[in-house]
Amino acid sequence: MPIKIPLENEEKEIAKKVRKLLFKKGLKVKDLQTALHEDGLVFFAYISGIPLSKKGLKRLSAIEKELKSKENLKVVIIPS
């Protein structure tokens, strides 16, 4: 199992915000990972409550788009 690198303070704050925003959307975040890709911070949010289906993924895509356009946050939501 790879070692999880602790988040920087700033990253922690943004992560908190991501959790809060997803909660507001009715998603329960089971785990949140942060990655630094060439285009900035990316959050991988593992959520429960939405099945891995076409309809479910469409809903998740809409939430991801909204977070990107309104909050400038790149979040990849993964049903688990």
Binding site: M1, P2, I3, K4, I5, Q33, T34, A35, H37, V42, F44, Y46, L52, K54, L57, K58, S61, E64, K65, K74, V76, I78, P79, S80
Partner: protein
Amino acid sequence: MTKGKHFLKIAKKLTVGDCEKLPTEALRRTIVNRIYYGVLHTVAEELEKIDKFKRKRETPKIHSIVIGRLKTICPSAGDWLEKLHELRKKADYDLNIPFKKEDLKTSLFLAELILKEVNLCLSKYRWKTKKRK
């Protein structure tokens, strides 16, 4: 000539094959990598058939070019391919972040969905352009 579907075949074989002795997480990352490139090249091949869209294989921009073009014809599939791209980047570069079972499961589902949706969208697109002519 190698085609996108060949990568998908390999990914499928790795998913269901006898790989118990291989390191699980590294295997998951490898499968997601092949799935992504399989889907990317399959989609690009399909796009090449319908218009003058040409891949510039030599540039790393192929990802954004294919995703961007796909979004104009088939927005949902474009969004899903972008998501799969993020998962592929995670699989290949973020070795310090756990790559979970859910990541593989989601990638497999996304691949299936993208290919189905692309087929549907492109047949509609072809029908529309034929009607216009």
